[in-house]
């Protein structure tokens, strides 16, 4: 795995267990991972292999049972609930398979939410929201409720929301898992733009076409990393080609 030096995010002997005794489930069994600044890492594996749990650990949504976890040299595994929440506000952006947009808020209001929680002024939050929606190509859909958006549009709103506070790292959990082919392509293009723009990304997926967008692919099985592959790829056209959605 990559050296810790220069890593934005790193994990050492990371373990996560649920239950006890005969009901003990080992979801993550001692994983080491380093993610460099600006790098896109895809974690791939079959359902139930522990990839979503790993992502939740990396984002501080769950506490590891053992091991060491650092984000910008801050020990996530030693932080309390309150500090983890503050870290999520400023340094981590999440993209979920189920989008998790707030139903009664418009696209723009959803994107503003992290900035408002972080204490930015309503005006600053609105400006940032407009920029991000422009960036994801949804400026004209800013005042639509999630229920009025397509799946791809919802996920693009979710990506814009994840970028609201300019996080160190964006963690995406099966970002195309609920999307059709056309919507998947939209999201893949957007992720590739982020990668090209130097955004650090960790994407969990079981879809090879999504994994192909990454700089590095880590394969996971039964809670452990079994293989790591460094990928080289080109333009968005390459992504489309890989994904098999174009021409």
């Amino acid at each position: 795995m990559t050296d810790r030096v220069g890593s934005v995010l790193s994990a050492r002997r990371l373990r996560k267990e649920y239950g006890a005794g005969a009901a003990l489930v080992q979801a993550i069994k001692g994983v080491d991972l380093d993610v460099a600044a600006g790098e896109t890492v895809a974690v791939m594996g079959p359902s139930g292999c522990g990839k979503s749990t790993l992502l939740h650990l990396l984002g501080g949504l769950e506490r590891p049972s053992a091991g060491e976890l650092r984000l910008d040299n801050a020990r996530l595994d030693q932080l309390g609930e309150h500090s983890l929440a503050r870290l999520r506000r400023t340094s981590i952006g999440f993209v979920f398979q189920a989008f998790h947009l707030v139903e009664e808020l418009t696209a723009a209001e959803n994107v503003e939410l992290p900035a408002l929680i972080a204490g930015h002024s309503p005006r600053a939050a609105r400006v940032r929201s407009e920029e991000l929606l422009e960036h994801v190509g949804l400026r004209d859909r800013a005042h639509h409720l999630p229920s009025a958006l397509s799946g791809g549009e919802r996920q693009r709103v979710a990506i814009a929301r994840a970028l609201s506070n300019q996080p160190e790292v964006v963690l995406a959990d099966e970002p195309t898992g609920n999307l059709d082919s056309a919507a998947t392509l939209e999201v893949l293009r957007l992720l590739d733009e982020l990668r090209a723009g130097g955004q650090t990304l960790v994407i969990v997926t079981h879809d090879e076409r999504v994994a192909a967008t990454a700089d590095r692919l880590v394969s996971m099985r039964d809670g452990v990393f079994v293989e790591e592959t460094r990928l080289s790829h080109g333009s968005a056209g390459r992504i489309g080609e890989l994904a098999g959605f174009e021409g």
């Binding site: 929440a85 979920f96 189920a98 707030v102």
Partner: protein, 631 residues
């Protein structure tokens, strides 16, 4: 038959699946029905003790009073008496044989078979230790009177010149015992006995026997006749009482055409040949019943307030469960159930529970009634078992069914109209969007930002929460208004002493308000928990975006406080208006500081109560919830 069986089976299964909700519903309605039952069974409970006392004391059928008030005012003659003239005044204020001779017209009237008196009544300030109070001191004979011989319950009747016998109800209020020394207008007397009488209403209504008193709510003390005459002063000259026994063939109220009695406004009587007021034993009984009546009134009003609160509680419970029941509705419709059948299934479960609550209310009311039906120390014996009449049962059942129907009808009709496909899809009910509040909330700190949005997304629930707080605050303000009135009634120069009427009102108000508070606590906890469950997704997203559990807890509490705010604002004037309406429009001032305390206390109470379920919800694992939401 098959349908009825199916409805019963579905209702029973739902109760088994949701025992906590069923128990809460039962509790909410039972609180209202039990209080109503208590209020209803108190009707007429003083009848037996009064009749028992009357028999034991050779109680009079009527008592005539001749008042010598200090105000030098021309006494109205019989011809000048008209409605509204209830207080009689002398023109010389001196005790004299001539004045009591006016009673002769009554003692010789047809149908009067016996009498006792006239007895002189002096007004005196009584002191015992640090306690002072105004009393009517009735001068009596040592010998047994043929009509109204007070029955000694402790000690013995007056024999010496400085002996005093104190009316038992008044003695209890002041804590007077046989052997105590008391001072009447500075003169020393020894309490040799405690007694009950049917010739005067029980303490604190004694002044009604004469229709006038220089003191509010005086007590009654018997002393030897000469001692009473000695206690008269220029300021408070002697009045007189005459007890009359009528022929058994005649009713206790005088037929005016036969006896020359004129009925004045307020039910008081006047004889054409006697410048005195007359009160019948029925009127004395009514005065005694007033003690219980205020208690009954407080309980009856309390039961309606509890009924209103129960409507809100049940509506929240039923509404909270409807989201879950939608799939069940879809299944029923898919197998051919009509909208009407679906509505009946939902209604019937709650109506059956309401019937259970009515039955529980009747039993609790019947069992608890003896605690409230003690007639007072001034009457003999107890009220006996309270009677549960068919009318009472019908009223209680109507209240229970009314509460359940009001709270369930709208959700049941909504479920009946629900599209089968939508119901089967189990789609979550869309939250309400309020652009104005969402926009305004962006200027607030995170807990309030989220709290305002939470309150706005379920306006019906917010209205129910506000309604239940409004009912509670109305009651609390009414209680403190009554208390404030009681405090202001303490007369300068007299110490505050126990007052059976005040005590009874306070007991009833305490019972109603504590039951109400218990219900509102349950309501607040349940509404917060329902809100937390309903807002699980947006709150979890907020946590994923960096909101701390403390901020989530505060936001859930803030949502409840925001809902409670309009309820508190409405409840305060409503409570004052309720008391004003019950006291026939008389303004009852309440210290502003008390109202401010109620306002702040309510909001702080709601915040504190809601923080418990809010905190539990805010600490649930984020990842688990987000994973569960994946479709």
């Amino acid at each position: 038959m098959g349908r009825a069986f199916l409805v019963g089976r579905l209702a029973a299964a739902d109760v088994r699946r949701h025992p906590v909700e069923a128990a809460l519903l039962l509790l909410a309605i039972t609180a209202a029905t039990a209080t109503l039952a208590l209020g209803l069974v108190l009707r007429g409970v003083t009848n037996d003790p009064y009749q028992r006392t009357r028999a034991a004391t050779a109680g009079p059928d009527a008592v005539a009073g001749l008042v010598n008030a200090p105000t030098p005012q021309k006494m109205p003659g019989p011809g000048g008496v008209g409605p509204g003239h209830q207080t009689l005044y002398c023109d010389d204020c001196q005790p004299s044989k001539d004045r009591t001779a006016a009673f002769d017209a009554l003692t010789h009237a047809a149908g009067v078979v016996a009498h006792s008196g006239p007895y002189p009544v002096a007004w005196a300030t009584m002191s015992r230790g640090p306690k002072t109070s105004g009393v009517a001191v009735e001068g009596h004979d040592q010998a047994r009177a043929p009509v109204d011989q007070p029955l000694i319950t402790k000690g013995h009747w007056i024999s010496g010149s400085d002996d005093a016998v104190v009316e038992a109800g008044y003695a209890q209020a002041l804590g007077i015992h046989v052997g105590d020394q008391i001072s009447l207008n500075g003169g020393h007397f020894t309490v040799v006995g405690l007694a009950v009488t049917a010739a005067a209403p029980d303490y604190p209504s004694m002044q009604n026997v004469l229709g006038w008193s220089p003191f509010p709510e005086p007590g009654l003390v018997w002393v030897p006749r000469v001692a009473a005459i000695r206690l008269a002063t220029k300021a408070f000259p002697l009045s007189y009482l005459l007890n009359l026994k009528l022929s058994h063939s005649l009713p206790h109220t005088f037929p005016p055409s036969v006896r020359g009695i004129i009925e004045l406004s307020g039910g008081r009587l006047w004889h054409v040949s006697c410048p005195c007021s007359i009160i019948t034993s029925d009127q004395i009984l009514q005065q005694d019943a007033q003690l219980i009546a205020v208690e009954r009134r407080a309980l009856t009003i309390g039961s309606w307030l509890l009924g209103l609160l129960a409507v809100a509680s049940v509506a929240v419970l039923v509404g909270g469960r409807m989201a879950e029941q939608e799939r069940r509705v879809g299944l029923l419709k898919a197998v051919g159930a009509t909208p009407g059948f679906v509505a009946v299934v939902i209604l019937i479960e709650n109506l059956v529970l309401a019937l259970g609550a009515a039955a529980a209310g009747v039993v609790i009311g019947w069992l608890a009634a003896p605690l409230l039906t003690q007639p007072g120390a001034g009457l003999l014996g107890s009220a006996g078992a309270p009677s549960i009449t068919p009318t009472n049962v019908l009223l209680i059942v109507a209240l229970a069914l009314g509460v359940a129907t009001l709270a369930t009808l709208v959700p049941a009709m909504r479920a009946a109209r629900l599209s089968t496909v939508r119901a089967l899809a189990d789609a979550a009910r869309s939250p309400r969007r309020s652009p104005l509040l969402i926009n305004l909330s962006t200027r607030l700190p995170t807990p309030l930002l989220l709290g305002v949005r939470l309150a706005a997304r379920r306006p019906h629930r917010a209205i129910l929460a506000a309604f239940s707080i409004a009912v509670t605050v109305t009651t609390v303000v009414a209680v403190i208004t009554v208390h404030s009135h009681q405090v202001s009634m303490t007369i300068a120069g007299f110490s505050a002493i126990d007052n059976p009427r005040t005590d009874r009102i306070n007991h009833s108000l305490l019972l109603v308000s504590s039951t109400l508070l218990m219900l509102v606590v349950i309501n607040a906890l349940f509404i917060t928990w329902s809100s937390a469950i309903d807002a699980k997704q947006p709150l979890t997203v907020a946590r994923a975006l960096g909101a701390t559990p403390r901020q989530i807890t505060a936001s859930l509490s803030a949502a409840q406080v925001i809902s409670a705010l309009p309820g508190t604002i409405v409840g305060i004037p409503a409570g004052i208006a309720l008391v004003a309406a019950l006291s026939h429009g008389d303004a009852v001032p309440v210290p502003t500081a008390w109202l401010v305390a109620v306002f702040l206390g309510t909001l702080l109470g709601v915040a504190a109560l809601s923080s418990l379920p809010a905190s539990l919800s805010a600490h649930r694992p984020v990842a688990e919830i987000l994973q569960a939401e994946v479709v």
